[in-house]
């Protein structure tokens, strides 16, 4: 970091890797009131942890992900990386200490420069991440190593993106992100644009990278079944808000929020489907006029009178598990699975619970 002219904020020991704290993000629109795409959303990503972010189309997942890396500015709240506030990308180069916070995009063709050899793009990423150009041999060794790590032959470095399939391009985009030696990656629907076989491979690759190198990953997806398989924790968004977050297995086994329940029920039990938008009654409300009280109340099957007026607070179901619902109740410390909480026994049996 010595080469960076800007002052680096002091590192905060013990701070979470990536911390999104109560952020609001609005988009200005010409001739309209601004859209509040994200409202009061919080989440954290720890080292080696895969956090799955799910929700219907338009609920603000990408906006949250882009705010997390500093591509859009929150109008309230704060994003911190290693305890330091994340700078919003402006005209100058991104500061060196932030370059280990990287992003992988949905469309693998769009995220690679069509007119540059993939090896050059990866080598540039390595040089930018290190803050110094590598000499020819070291650079090509590094490119080969990175391509190998994402399951491609080092020989493909001389090719252009259009010579690859979508899945291969996504591998190259991942290699390029890895070249910057990231500690945290935000992956915004990295598999949605791929065909079925490539989806599984890329999801496995990303999860494997997180596990092996201990980097944190925010995995944004509308494919619930993939998130269930690779995410250590799941964060559910509805209409700009985080409505439930917690360890994947118990959240899946006995979702605490009616919206999470509706999503999970919409996933066919056996099939590989489970892609949002799920078929819920009612429409997503107009972003310009959010409903009063709980934002989910016009569609909630368990709606109560108080839901129409009271904005629900977050309730701790268990440590690290929150639900933003007026009906949410903390779990008793010793749940046996009896009574009205089906699946709780399964929860207790899981290592994540």
């Amino acid at each position: 970091m010595s080469g960076d002219r800007r002052a680096v904020p002091p590192a905060v020991p013990g701070a979470p890797l990536l911390e999104v704290e109560a952020i609001d993000v609005s988009y200005a629109r010409h001739g309209h009131s601004p859209v509040r795409a994200v409202t009061g959303a919080s989440l954290t990503v720890g080292p080696g942890e895969v956090v799955g972010l799910v929700g219907e189309s338009g609920c603000g997942k990408s906006t949250l992900g882009r705010a997390a890396v500093g591509l859009v500015a929150p109008s309230a709240g704060q994003v911190r990386y290693r305890g330091r506030p994340v700078e919003v990308l402006a005209r100058g180069a991104r500061p060196r200490w932030l370059r280990s916070l990287q992003m992988v995009f949905q469309d693998p063709y769009a995220s690679l420069n069509p007119r540059r050899r993939v090896g050059r793009q990866i080598a540039d990423a390595a040089a930018l991440g290190a803050g110094a150009a590598l000499d020819g041999k070291a650079s090509s060794d590094r490119v080969g190593e990175l391509l190998d790590r994402v399951g491609l032959s080092p020989g493909v470095a001389q090719r252009y993106p259009h010579e690859f399939s979508g899945g291969q391009c996504q591998r190259i985009a991942i290699a390029r992100a890895l070249a910057a030696q990231p500690d945290c990656i935000v992956a915004d629907e990295p598999i949605s644009a791929l065909d079925a076989s490539a989806q599984a491979q890329i999801a496995n690759l990303l999860a494997g990278i997180a596990a092996q190198s201990g980097l944190g990953m925010l995995f944004i997806s509308h494919d619930l079944s993939v998130v269930r398989k690779i995410a250590d924790r799941t964060v559910v968004m509805y209409f700009g808000r985080v409505v439930e977050s917690g360890p994947t297995a118990p959240v899946w086994a006995r979702p605490a929020h009616p919206y999470t329940r509706a999503l999970i029920n919409a996933v066919p039990r056996a099939g590989a489907g489970g892609t949002l938008p799920a078929e819920l009654p009612g429409d997503v409300p107009d972003p310009a006029r959010p409903p009063a009280g709980c934002r989910f109340h016009p569609r909630c099957p368990e709606v109560m009178d108080s839901c129409r007026t009271t904005d629900p607070p977050g309730v701790d179901i268990a440590p690290g598990w929150q639900s933003v619902c007026l009906r949410a109740q903390p779990l008793p410390a010793t749940t046996t699975g009896a009574g009205e909480v089906p699946g709780a026994a399964e929860v207790a049996g899981r290592p994540e619970a």
Partner: protein, 304 residues
């Protein structure tokens, strides 16, 4: 993390699905390449012809261009294939030496206008704001005048000689490159490969030079090819009007002007005029063929 050890997601081996995506990308390859289109070939041949003439002018021309040796105003004959002018100079030799001026100067000014215009346009498109407003209003101002009128005014203000004529044409010519570069940079600026580069720590200037330049170079070069004919016309037009090459320089536009003064000795103006015509047509043929290999949206930005 415990979930990442044994993943139940089974990749299906050897599926052709991934390859299928790339097939649609070959649609453009079905278009006929320029070297297989007759007009483009004719254009290329003519350009090559004039390039050879320009390079080997001293060997090809029967006489020095400014030597006043022959009969005055002799019509085309075996001795003087294109006749002689009112000072007894050989028209053929003058047309041949004229290629040494028109072609390199047109190329030079197109390269200069292209460099200046693309740089200003790319900077305007990338950084936006005040820079964009200033550069593009300037471009609009230039485009508001008919090209030859503004070039005339600039050349007249600078003084009548060939260098000033070249400068005048550059002044008139750069805005179209600025517009094209700006619109392409605007289109590419928010693309994810640019965002990725920025997240990796690429500065604005580096992003423009390394990431955007190779993506906008193609259409700009095609515009340059299309513009060559225009540059030849403007430059010889200024000489025709007496604001470019001065006598006795053998320049095509100036020679046409002499031809107008000797209206009934058609050969003095006709042959340099034909030289201009063939060069302009040739560059337009080649430029049109090159434009066709661009994607339709970009081709529309090049107009016509």
């Amino acid at each position: 993390m415990s979930t990442t050890g044994a993943l139940p997601l089974e990749p299906a081996p050897g599926l052709g699905g991934e390859q299928a995506e790339t097939l649609t990308r070959q649609d453009r390859a079905a278009l006929r390449p320029p070297w297989r289109q007759p007009l483009a070939l004719v254009g290329g041949g003519i350009i090559l012809f004039w390039a050879v003439v320009a390079i080997f002018a001293p060997l090809l021309a029967p006489h020095p261009p400014n030597l006043e040796f022959g009969p005055i105003l002799a019509p085309p004959s075996a001795a003087y294939p294109l006749g002689t002018d009112e000072l007894g100079r050989d028209v053929l030799s003058r047309v041949i030496f004229g290629a040494r001026l028109s072609l390199p100067l047109a190329a030079l000014l197109v390269v200069a206008a292209m460099s200046i215009g693309s740089l200003l346009g790319a900077v305007a498109g990338y950084f936006g704001g005040l820079v964009d407003a200033i550069f593009m209003r300037l471009a609009d101002l230039v485009l508001a005048f008919p090209g030859i009128i503004l070039a005339l005014a600039v050349a007249a203000a600078l003084g009548a000689n060939l260098v000033n004529a070249v400068i005048a044409v550059i002044v008139v010519d750069w805005p179209q490159y600025a517009r094209l570069a700006r619109s392409m940079v605007l289109g590419a600026r928010s693309s994810e490969y640019v965002t990725s580069a920025r997240l990796l720590g690429s500065s604005g200037w580096r992003t423009m030079w390394v990431e955007l330049r190779p993506n906008i170079a193609g259409p700009i070069l095609v515009l340059g090819a299309l513009d060559m004919g225009n540059a030849v016309i403007l430059l010889s037009g200024l000489s025709f009007l007496g604001l470019g090459a001065q006598p006795p320089t053998a320049e095509w536009g100036a020679m046409v002007s002499e031809g107008v003064a000797n209206f009934f000795n058609y050969w003095i103006g006709l042959f340099p005029g034909l030289a201009i015509l063939t060069v302009v047509l040739a560059f337009n043929f080649v430029g049109d063929a090159l434009r066709d290999i661009l994607d339709p949206r970009t081709a529309r930005m090049l107009g016509k």
